[in-house]
Assembly symmetry: C2
Homo-oligomer: 394 residues x 2
């Protein structure tokens, strides 16, 4: 496939505030103004900024998902209990598990919330206060959900090769169990990890799980479908045989439905039941259910998404290598790469140039997380990055 | 406006299971088979059963809401933070409050969940365990959310005229505050009340709120827009001046967006901040935000919904009066009316006849909750009810 893109950049001299970089395609180049958060408008998406900050799927929902929404929207006045049952059955069949092992969520983040609260509550896995062990840095939601409940938080830095430091996480859990509080321990595993995009060897995770029946494992596999590595595999088999392991998946990434808030957890029926008690009632929206239901079996769109991501990764790697900007090995739809200078300033300058990137993930303050858009979008990003280099900004 | 409907009923003699009641319109009469929950399929809605069991708005989403979904669906791959900000501003303007007083929820039920958890948590309004005081019967979600957290639950029966028994609720709260536990008290007020559709005088509620700074009041006004009674008013002014009062509203009822899960709470900024800490991250879906944003200012659809509801209520009252089936005065989009015989059997027979009604609301087991559909739908329901009378079933 041949992808042509026209890109014109003109940076006004002087301060970043005065920059008026113009980015566009073919004859329809449009000026992109500095966008504040309050200007994040739906209708700007097509010709608007490059949205490379939230690990979304730039292809959007599949054709089948759009048709499902179109067909269903007239019935958006109806509650969704029946529809949710159908999706649950579809998810169960997709993974070859019993329906009692499926917990549907308002995004997989709701399943994370439910699991944290199942730990924090008095009817939960054990006496409070619990200890939460997380890698650092990682996806922030679990830590945020734990915040109000007084869980003790232990953040274990990633190893130099950016895998989870399973040894240290395991040791911390063991010490907590042997201590006087004897509260339950919740361990969060994010594999591939966000924001690094790196893998932790499944063998290390599995060994820990097999050894620690008294630790509750929350294994976030949001980027599962993107991984193409021979030793990578899901923790689902362990979850099905043990009531202390929960695997989460999402429709927000490879399926392109982030705005519809659809995800799920897979667990032993006993764990699923405990978690479900903390669910929102009627937690799923109709358009999300309909789109997710047809997306799950849509292998064509899945393959297209994965191919697009690979192509976009190649375009991105090329420009990073060309500019000598070190990058972590990505196994997801984003990459963490080195920048020079202040990260906040970089993110702001990128926004002013029409590209949303980042956010801050301490301690990686000389890096930036960049989501992969389409290959064409990454070509536009590459031009901006080269211009940054010319200006000495990166 | 002239509404014609054709209705043909033919009940086979014998058991309810053998009943083959046919309900349809004009020439397109279709057989309606016994529907199990697993058959609640989206695409049956038009010619399918009468859906009068969930207090939905049979008119469906407004034209503007559908257009908003259509325009936005291609961007369902994007997270919704920016869109949510726009809706928050719109809600704040609609009620003339500060944005800091608005808590958006995945349905108003999520706001109820957040508020219960803000009470239950150690960082909440006070030391646990808390006492939850609710009218009985009422909407069940608050009680359900409290379940896992060990809150003490006190259910105070409605008075004989079906208003909340504010005196007894107040006395219970006062006794709890004077007791040794000194835990916080959460009081749930549902006005109009579900499932009775009845009003509690606002003056009684307000007097209690003014007296009890140490009780947290959760005032559910899901059916606010339907009320046409001179003394009825929102508790919002009290919520804005006191950090212990939360008012909830929903887009599920008069706005016809139940399937999109959109609601909100209005509260003093301090209370809103406390509650918000228990929100799901990215809790709002894009189609819901878009539809809600245009629906809030759509006075035409609002007026149409209210007029339709009034017409449907008249059709319903007529047949209930004709058959001598006592009814409670409805101030919402449903009515609680007397039936004869077993309630579960009535609900099942109705389902077999093609109408979803009820569910069980003890202790009202010789009554049934009936949602108002369109006037035409209520005409079809009336014919079924008359047939039930002919068969001695009601």
């Amino acid at each position: 496939m041949k992808r042509r893109h026209f890109l014109r950049t003109s940076l006004a001299a002087g301060t970043a505030a005065a920059a008026t970089l113009t980015v566009g395609r073919a004859a329809s180049a449009v000026p992109v103004r500095s966008l504040g958060l309050d200007e994040r408008r739906w209708d700007r998406a097509t010709d608007g900024p490059l949205r490379l900050s939230s690990n979304e799927n730039s292809l959007g929902p599949s054709e089948a998902a759009r048709r499902a929404i179109l067909d269903g929207m007239g019935e958006a006045n109806r509650y969704t209990h029946g529809l949710a049952g159908e999706l649950r059955a579809r998810v169960a069949a997709h993974h070859g598990v019993d329906e009692a092992s499926v917990v549907l969520g308002n995004g997989s983040t709701e399943v994370l919330r439910m699991a944290v609260q199942a730990m924090a509550g008095p009817g939960g896995w054990g006496p409070s206060p619990a200890l939460l062990v997380v890698p650092d840095p990682t996806f922030e939601h679990v830590e945020q959900y734990a915040g109000p409940w007084g869980l003790e938080l232990l953040k274990v830095p990633l190893r130099p090769d950016h895998r989870h430091d399973i040894d240290r996480m395991r040791e911390a859990a063991r010490a907590a169990r042997g201590g006087s509080s004897r509260g339950p321990v919740l361990a969060y595993i994010c594999n591939p990890n966000n924001p690094t995009g790196t893998l932790t060897p499944c063998r290390e995770i599995e060994d820990w799980i097999r050894e620690a029946d008294d630790v509750v494992f929350l294994v976030d596999e949001a980027y599962f479908e993107y991984v193409d590595h021979p030793s990578y595999r899901t923790a689902l088999p362990l979850a099905l045989e043990r009531p202390n392991v929960v695997v989460t998946r999402t429709f927000s990434k490879v399926y392109g439905l982030a705005g519809l808030r659809m995800g799920y957890g897979l667990a032993h029926p006993e764990a699923a039941r405990r978690i479900q008690a903390f669910s929102g009632r009627s937690n799923l929206n109709a358009m999300g259910i309909l789109a997710a239901t047809v997306s799950l079996g849509d292998d064509t769109h899945l393959a297209h998404s994965l191919r697009t991501n690979e192509d976009a990764r190649r375009v991105t790697y090329d420009v990073l290598d060309e500019l000598g900007l070190e990058r972590l090995p990505s196994h997801a739809n984003f990459v963490l790469h080195r920048i020079s200078g202040d990260q906040a300033q970089y993110i702001r300058r990128m926004r002013e140039a029409g590209a949303w990137v980042g956010r801050q993930f301490p301690p990686f303050l000389s890096h930036n997380r960049l989501s992969f858009g389409t290959p064409e979008e990454m070509g536009r990003f590459a031009e901006i990055l080269r211009e940054f280099r010319r200006r000495g900004w990166v």
